[in-house]
């Protein structure tokens, strides 16, 4: 205590584990980013920078030689070197409960060259290599060897700007500044993270000055926060797209009733009609209270692969009706829209708004909003024809959504796991696969954009709705900086 300065942060959700490989989930990643370092670090605009690696070369398309930072120590004093890197990557890849396998699946091998040099070999040329590395926090081999999963889940020993002092689950996480940190010493001596999951509670905590920062300010309380002259208010464009997927595979889709018994969603004109028939501006204005950005494509501006030439078409019910008539459904059809009700901001209300919008062009939409546990399991079994879902391009690269949602489903290669409408276009697939091996950024961008354009503009494979934004409030006593990756990184806070 004494003069020690403590930064107090109220979070909408707490950490699930202190094991940095257990859950790839924003809240846990955010807290652990203060304790651990990865080889590569994101800045606040998700550009890559040296982390524990100081420099790297890419002598062959599949080989990366990385020079490691010297003189770095873990919180318990043990030295950081190449062995720790090899140990960490092996654990993340082979631990049976690892949630980060997807970040390292393209890496064939990691080897120590000397004390401060490691060599990575990837299976194929891997342009997003550096971005993926930002997700692999480096653990200490000496400390962890021989420890069981439970110990690792409770004890975080990293090289980051703060070290864990206590974790009382559901109540708080306390961090102390790491005076030996390689970036320098952070401004606050202590950081306190508190999970305040109830919206009203979180707002009360910042209004009563008990915390210095809160994330996810609920939109209903925005005015109370804004009008308080002791608080700053931030709106940070996020990485998550909310969109609709449609069954484009089955001739008889289970939750559609049409006059001809067919699946109208297989007709691109019907999909376009839905796009034109949804009043997204109204959804943003009334459901999201202005705190969302209408989307026309898969990747927001901050993400590599965004195509500035794709603009959102204006809401046009007349055009939508004409397209429906042209496709042979002048009187529309009946369809069920599945949506989670506890996963994304206002998810079920968005689905309701989509339904009432589409009712005006003759499509009768019945909303089926269920808890996320049911929703993801059911859509995974394709028990859906039309559903609302989100995707965060957390690598800052469009490849994740293109690989995961746009590419044809293929259980073996892992492509298209979330392509639950089973959209399939071999030309798009070819472009996506091609982009995975292009090391030249400019050329790669062109291919990513071409793939996206074909899928979203020509085929209208999805109906993009909007990108979520992150809303924060902070005390005027501190200088808070928001980040595109939604993390609260205390090192940058003054």
């Amino acid at each position: 205590m004494g003069n020690a300065k403590t930064l107090k942060v109220g979070l909408a959700s707490g950490a699930l584990s202190m094991d940095p490989y257990a859950h790839n989930e924003t809240a846990t990643n955010s807290i652990l980013s203060n304790i651990f370092d990865a080889l590569i670090a994101f800045d606040k605009d998700i550009n890559t920078h040296p982390g524990l690696a100081v420099s790297w070369t890419n002598p062959e398309p599949t080989v990366w030689i990385m020079k490691l930072r010297k003189g770095v120590k873990f919180h318990n004093g043990s030295k950081f070197n190449a062995d720790d890197v090899v140990f960490s990557f092996n654990r993340v890849k082979t631990w049976d409960k690892s949630g980060f396998k997807g970040k390292v699946s393209a890496i064939e091998s990691v080897a120590k060259v000397d004390e401060y040099t490691v060599k990575f070999v990837t299976k194929k040329p891997y342009p997003v290599f550096l971005r993926k590395l930002t997700y692999v926090n480096i653990l200490d081999k000496e400390t962890l060897e021989g420890k069981n999963d439970q110990w690792i889940g409770l004890n975080a020993i990293g090289t980051g700007p703060y070290k864990l002092t206590s974790w009382s689950k559901g109540d708080h996480i306390k961090l102390d500044v790491n005076k030996d940190h390689w970036r320098g010493v952070a401004k606050f001596d202590k950081v306190l993270f508190r999970p305040l999951t109830n919206n009203a509670t979180r707002v009360a905590a910042i209004l009563s000055n008990e915390v210095d920062i809160i994330n996810r300010v609920p939109v209903v309380d925005v005015n109370r926060v804004k009008s308080n002259d002791k608080l700053d208010f931030f709106v940070q464009p996020g990485l998550r797209l909310i969109y609709l997927q449609m069954d484009q595979d089955r001739d008889n889709s289970p939750f559609i009733k049409s006059h001809d018994g067919k699946n109208p969603l297989k007709d691109v004109r019907v999909r376009k009609a839905i796009y034109y028939g949804i009043n997204e501006d109204a959804i943003v204005k009334y459901v999201m209270k202005g705190f969302a950005e209408p989307a026309a494509q898969l990747s927001p501006k901050a993400v590599f692969g965004n195509d500035p030439s794709i603009k959102r078409a204006a809401f046009n019910p007349e055009k939508a009706k004409a397209l429906l008539a042209e496709a042979g459904y002048p009187n529309g059809f009946e369809i069920q829209l599945d949506s989670p009700n506890n996963r994304y901001i206002n998810d079920a209300q968005i689905a309701q708004a989509v339904a009432s919008s589409l009712a005006k062009i003759g499509i009768t939409v019945k909303v089926n909003a269920t808890p996320k546990s049911t929703f993801f399991a059911e859509t995974g079994k394709l028990k859906t024809s039309f559903f609302l879902i989100g995707w965060a391009s957390s690598d800052g690269d469009a490849s994740s959504i293109l690989d995961g949602c746009v590419h044809s489903y293929n259980a073996e290669t892992g492509y298209g796991r979330y392509n639950r409408g089973r959209y399939s276009n071999t030309k798009v697939d070819a472009l996506i696969e091609k982009s995975a091996g292009i090391m030249d950024p400019a050329e790669r961008l062109r291919v990513l954009q071409a793939a996206q354009k074909m899928a979203i503009v020509d085929d209208q494979n999805f109906i993009p709705l909007h990108y979520q934004v992150d809303i924060y409030a902070s005390s005027k006593n501190i200088t808070f900086e928001t980040r595109t990756d939604s993390r609260i990184w205390a090192f940058d806070i003054k």
Partner: protein, 316 residues
């Protein structure tokens, strides 16, 4: 007595076995936790591997059988989400819930019973009417509203009490530190309001009924002082149904502090169980419900024993 206790224990074990089966089955049917646990960039193979790692690839019967074998060795399994032993997690959170429930209950009893007695002796006096008005409010006002209003007044406007969290903990409880007590006040009051009102009203009704009895009149006729009649003879006879209700209510308090815990970000089991149900974290849900049913069984048992002290007729 020994036979009675053994009998009760056997019944309790049976109840808990049944509960474990039902919960296990419901959670099995509810969906696939792996789908929620793995990030979107995981491959189908990762999903299959994770299922195998958690033992979820087996049939229901095999999984339940394995669970029973583990339980017999005192192991309720590891949480899918937290990776720690489920029972440890529940016990780690239990003290926070227990202290809320116990203190709220003590407060309700210490205030509720005397006020109930006062309002039963002179039911039509101004004091009684005021007490009854507030007790009616206490029973009707939703817990969530009470909590939020307290936060608004004492934290946001006056700034005298912390709006949330548990404060400093000493020896498993925050009731022994000043910081802890400051954090306890609002959640305890929020939780106690309904219980207090209920106990108050039950005491009053019970007392009024007992005071009409012939033996009370006889005692009065014999010249027993009014105070002795009220606080000894009448109260003792009112207590029997009251103890049953308090026992049941205490179980309720422990099991359903969820709303209070949510409002005050109190790190108890209520919050844990809701999260675990949402995440389909079966080991925690099963462990929690087993612990709670054990508490209910234990309370009922204690209530029965208490009866024998208050009511000699039961002792036979």
């Amino acid at each position: 007595m020994t036979k009675y206790i053994l009998n009760r224990l056997f019944h309790s074990a049976l109840v808990m076995l049944t509960i474990s089966f039902i919960v296990f089955f419901i959670m099995f049917k509810a969906g696939d936790p792996v789908e929620l646990m793995l990030p979107p960039d995981a491959t189908q193979q990762d999903v299959v591997d994770m299922r195998a790692a958690l033992g979820l690839d087996k049939s229901f019967i095999v999984q339940y059988q394995k669970f029973l074998v583990n339980v017999s060795q005192g192991n309720l399994g590891n949480s899918f989400i937290y990776g720690q032993p489920a029972l440890d997690i529940v016990f780690e959170r239990m003290p926070a819930t227990m202290e809320l429930a116990v203190i709220a209950m003590i407060l309700s009893i210490l205030i509720g019973i005397p006020l109930g007695i006062i309002s039963s002796i002179k039911p039509n006096s101004i004091t009684s009417r005021i007490i009854m008005f507030f007790s009616l409010a206490g029973i009707s006002v939703p817990v969530f509203w009470t909590g939020m209003i307290l936060v608004l007044i004492f934290s946001v406007i006056l700034g005298v009490l912390p709006s949330s969290g548990r404060g400093e903990v000493y020896l498993f409880t925050s009731a022994f530190t000043w910081d802890g007590i400051r954090h306890l006040i609002m959640p305890v009051v929020t939780l106690a309001v309904f219980q207090l009102a209920l106990i108050l009203r039950l005491t009053r009704t019970g007392m009024m009924e007992v005071l009409m009895q012939d033996y009370i009149k006889l005692a009065a006729a014999k010249g027993v002082p009014r105070k002795v009649i009220v606080y000894y003879h009448a109260l003792k006879n009112t207590l029997i149904p009251l103890i049953t209700i308090i026992g049941i209510q205490f179980g309720q308090l422990v099991a359903f502090t969820i709303v209070t815990e949510t409002i005050f970000a109190w790190p108890g089991t209520g919050k844990l169980i809701i999260d675990s149900i949402q995440n389909l974290d079966r080991p925690i849900v099963v462990a929690y419900l087993l612990v709670i049913s054990f508490i209910f069984v234990a309370i009922n048992f204690m209530v029965d024993v208490l009866y024998t002290f208050v009511d000699p007729r039961v002792r036979v």
